[in-house]
């Protein structure tokens, strides 16, 4: 035997249960240590939890509803430069394009110029909602992030302190070179000193950039460009002898295929890979770039026919200060072992990925090095 209740009673109970669930969810969201705000497709607040209300709404979440982001969130870069919502790197600009995160100095809405503290921002598109909402969460830096910030500050200070004596040494070496006729052995020593000073300068620049990339301080200047233009533009900047060394194959890449990158950083990636190949390849071996495009992504294969990378070291090539001493071409200047670490950080900072492909990917008869770069493809 079955029994039934009137539908109205069931509806009432269901409504009561839903209310209880909703209340419980709100209690849970209010109990988190992160500020959470949902923005609608016009980037106006639709929902906020209690931490967000305490931070920006005088304790009342409903007071935030309908406000635009720029009415209550004022940000500075980690270095303290005020950010406009339209500039690259600002969460508001970033959330138009997809998910992301970053660290910013957050200003107090009540105190003009007053900085509350450095916060970690995360923005995520809520794709399940057709209207196109975005969830922003804001939290204090955790101890590891704070330590990283302190390390970064130390690194910048150290780089600054070292650049001044380095400039003095460089100037002195130039003056010695100009001021006296040097015998062969002294000139040789001087040349070594000059090369080493240059190397230290490069090392400092790379370390600073790497540190900036890893702590989210580096600001990319993104542009959308056709891949053909980017690669050919980079090649045109090379000297003739370098151009002769390179072979380019873009046949598998549509001329319409574009990527969104910082052109300067993109050039630097190719520079690093090319320098690396030169360092580990003999003069007559080719270096090749091949690109392919698919609907969603673009692949750039950077290949050389040097001695390849020993199996035991393949998993470490993107580590800092990693150098393959046994394979190095002694005629090429020494690197600091930061090139590939820096390259990976630059690629990943531009939403791409880089990986070392198996040696036999393209030419099973020879040990080759094949690095694959992949970026999201954009149609323009």
């Amino acid at each position: 035997m079955t029994s039934s209740r009137p539908a109205t009673n069931n509806s009432g109970e269901l409504l009561q249960q839903l209310r209880q669930s909703l209340g419980l969810l709100q209690v849970a969201f209010d109990a988190t240590s992160e500020a959470m705000v949902i923005f609608d497709n016009e980037l106006r607040v639709r929902w906020a939890n209690q931490v967000a209300a305490d931070l920006w709404g005088g304790g009342m979440a409903i007071a935030l509803v309908g406000k635009s982001y720029s009415q209550f969130i004022k940000l500075q870069t980690i270095e303290g430069t005020p950010m406009s919502p339209d500039e690259p790197g600002h969460p508001l600009r970033g959330m138009r394009d997809g998910d992301g995160e970053g660290r910013y100095r957050m200003c107090s809405p009540e105190v003009p110029g007053g900085v509350v503290s450095t916060k970690h921002f995360n923005w995520k598109q809520i794709k399940q909602v057709a209207e196109g909402y975005v969830l922003i969460t804001v939290r204090d830096l955790d101890p590891a992030e704070k330590a990283l910030q302190e390390q970064q500050a130390f690194m910048n200070q150290l780089a600054h302190e070292l650049r001044t004596p380095l400039a003095i040494v460089t100037g002195s070496l130039k003056r010695i070179d100009k001021g006296a006729s040097l015998n062969g052995r002294t000139a040789e020593h001087l040349d070594v000193a000059r090369q080493e000073v240059k190397r230290i300068g490069r090392l400092l620049n790379n370390l600073t950039l790497l540190s900036d990339l890893e702590t989210g301080r580096h600001r990319f200047e993104f542009k959308t460009q056709h891949l053909h233009e980017l690669i050919k533009g980079w090649m045109n900047k090379l000297g003739q002898s370098s151009q002769k060394r390179l072979s380019l194959n873009l046949m598998g890449c549509s001329k319409e295929a574009a990527i969104k990158v910082d052109p300067e950083a993109f050039d630097r990636i190719l520079d690093n890979l090319f320098d690396n190949s030169l360092r580990y390849c003999k003069n007559n071996t080719p270096i090749s770039i091949m690109a392919t495009s698919q609907a969603e992504s673009l692949n750039i294969f950077f290949m050389d026919w040097g001695l390849g990378i020993p199996e035991a070291q393949r998993s470490k090539i993107f580590d800092r200060f990693m150098r393959l001493e046994e394979n190095r071409d002694p005629n090429q200047s020494d690197g600091a072992g930061l090139g590939l670490a820096l390259t990976r950080s630059l690629v990943e900072g531009m939403d791409g990925l880089i990986e070392l492909m198996p040696n036999e990917t393209f030419d099973p008869s020879q040990p080759t090095t094949v690095l694959r770069l992949q970026f999201p493809c954009i149609q323009i």
């Binding site: 909703l22 709100q26 929902w47």
Partner: protein, 130 residues
């Protein structure tokens, strides 16, 4: 605790401000003639959710905040002025200063009431000083 006995009666007498009262479920049970005059609602509003007099974008937080209060009996919107857009019967909105109170009745059930001071339009009056 965020309520005092007699708060609703005191609010009802406050000047000649529009007044609205809701039951523990958040459904409108009564409103003053002044409320009807300013916002245009008639008796059809009785029994409807309070969310109806708030713009759609405010409803999620209204409902979640209301449900939260039923669990915790704590709210930050009570007993002080709060500026919110209020929806009129014709769909237009008037920025209004809401002063919301809550009161527990004899049967341990909650009642909620608010005065609404219109801050714009023909019935506008200056906001209450803090």
């Amino acid at each position: 605790m965020s309520w005092t006995p007699g708060a609703i009666a005191a609010l009802r007498e406050k000047e000649n401000l529009p007044f609205v009262r809701a039951d523990a479920e958040g459904n409108v049970v009564e409103f003053s003639p002044r409320f009807s005059e300013v916002y245009g609602w008639d008796d059809g509003l009785v029994g409807e959710t309070l969310g109806k007099i708030l713009p759609p974008s405010f409803r999620e937080l209204h409902h979640s905040g209301f449900s939260r209060f039923q669990l915790t009996e704590v709210s930050k919107v009570l007993n002080h002025p709060l500026t919110l857009a209020t929806v009129c019967s014709d769909g237009t909105t008037i920025q209004s200063e809401h002063y919301i109170v809550a009161e527990k009745g004899d049967a341990e059930t909650w009642s909620f009431a608010a005065t609404l001071r219109p801050l714009e339009g023909p019935y506008a009056s200056p906001p209450q000083s803090p």
